[in-house]
Symmetry: C2
Subunit: 347 residues, 2 copies
Amino acid sequence: MAARPTMKDVARAAGVSLMTVSRVVAGETGVAPQTAARVEEAIRALGYQRNDIARNLRRKAQDSRTIGLVVDDLANPFFSALARSVEDEAYRRGFLVLVGSTNDDPRRERDVVSAFSARQVDGLVLVPTGGNRPFFRAQMARGVKVVCVDRPATGLDVDCVAVDNRAGTATAVRHLLDRGHSRIAYLGDRQEIWTQRERYAGYEQAMAAAGLAVDPALVRHGLRGVPEAAKAIGELMDAPNPPTAVFSGNDLVTLGAVDAGASRRFALVGFDDFLLADKLDPPISVVSQDPAALGRTAAQLLFGRIDGDDAAARSVVLATRFIDRGSGGDAVGPPLPGGRAVYQAAE
Amino acid sequence: MAARPTMKDVARAAGVSLMTVSRVVAGETGVAPQTAARVEEAIRALGYQRNDIARNLRRKAQDSRTIGLVVDDLANPFFSALARSVEDEAYRRGFLVLVGSTNDDPRRERDVVSAFSARQVDGLVLVPTGGNRPFFRAQMARGVKVVCVDRPATGLDVDCVAVDNRAGTATAVRHLLDRGHSRIAYLGDRQEIWTQRERYAGYEQAMAAAGLAVDPALVRHGLRGVPEAAKAIGELMDAPNPPTAVFSGNDLVTLGAVDAGASRRFALVGFDDFLLADKLDPPISVVSQDPAALGRTAAQLLFGRIDGDDAAARSVVLATRFIDRGSGGDAVGPPLPGGRAVYQAAE
DNA sequence: GTGAAAGCGCTAACAG
DNA sequence: CTGTTAGCGCTTTCAC
């Protein structure tokens, strides 16, 4: 309840001028040890703590030493791992991190970024929704540095850190093709999300390279969350001519497929690794990426920009890794060695 | 690169006084529509955005509309789910959230909270490490509201939201006892963490109630992370007189046990539910708590305090739920119905 | 070494 | 309806 004491209060208590207190608090040299001691004493007695907000208002280098981190959903393990590594990089440099989730809603994204910007953030690590391009351009014109991560903001001239979603997906689909599958379903999240478009493109590309047409009946976009994905898989599998294999476009969709797979059998490969994927029966093969590395790299780029790096926008592509755990199944033939009950094609 | 335009710039551009711009920006009534329009136009032309930091410095209600959220590890799904719900509550009220992870290190906790406080946060949602009590008392004296979540800060007179760890654990251990186990191991994280002490107390209590002595050889504390936990389990099981059942004190330890369980058989019940626990073989029984509810409740309490609620400190205890999925095994007897390979006692 | 004055960008409290 | 003055808590600049 007590009002926070100010430098003025400390100055009065120590019997010196406000300016002397400022110097002591800022750790400047040129204050007599005795005076400094008196000031320190008053600071302790009053419980004074510097107001960094007022400080930054007046300082020449008008930086707030705060960055904003805007992700789709902080509760999603992928984004929280990314967030943690951004936070670590910021902590190392004495920066603070404001966080916000967008839920992939451009309106909320705008709200959040507006508020961050009004708080004078020095920069933004952004997992962009589809919209708000002109708005971001305006922010950048005002001096806010922006780095995109996970997805680029097309049409915005900023640094971006992401993985090669297309190639990663093509590899995974090729893995299914190599095991004899030809009716391969694609299930993904909303196509408005760049990663989802890229992954679908990778799927199309791998199918085309194998001389196979994509059957539109086997493609489902717009799956938000596990239950929706599970339901979609169920419908696909219950339809007349079901797929023998499924490629899932993100971790949540994969989990939905695992859910649906308990009562049905099909080969499954998904984008994004997840905890316990190796402990399932069968263990799930995935295209894995490293969210912590994405966050770390994005933060490093951002701090470089804040420190004055004004080279042309960079695009960093991190590697994906295909992890074959066996759930790719075989379209025809006996169960996998080891006798495990694989999500295996029925025909 | 361009300096951010200020109200002064807008005033000049619109040919009005600074005060008129202030009124328009604040959305106050009592400005002639024509004048307002001229100002709006200037704002648009210059890309002006209000500096909320300068604003808060002068406003009567000296609130920054920012709270700090301090957790053990933002990358941990438990804390990230909690964080998301805190953020949602803040967003609804137009508050911003600064985040920081402590890694359970009091020094980092202090660093982070200091920096938050210097930024004039109105309040703190805190998953406290063991230390820094006097420091927090000083913060509160300065008017920073504090609410603890997941763990209380003993000796600090603040609101706290947590679950009944002791009772939840006792229930789980009783479940193992009921199924005939008597050599039940306890594996947990560092005892400096309140939840871990409580859970161990629940274990002791349930054992004592069953008239069983705790065998110190079956107790391991201080397990940080999955690999350490897996290693500890391995050692326990390879020792002369191994346990037939394991209680694990948090999600990471449970995952370590699952890892170790692939090559060994023992009953297992853990604190904290986790994704895919129901999809493992056997499905893992757990004491579950709701991190989102913890975060939401803590945030609501905090905003109540910020809004002036000065009632005595409240302690909210949320329910845990024991979810029996079968991994409790039977100390003696046939595999569980359904023929699943249960982590079952060997003897 | 120390202090007085000015001002960062904004709003409160008054005038007109 | 609009403008002037003062000042939030601090740092800059320039005196002494």
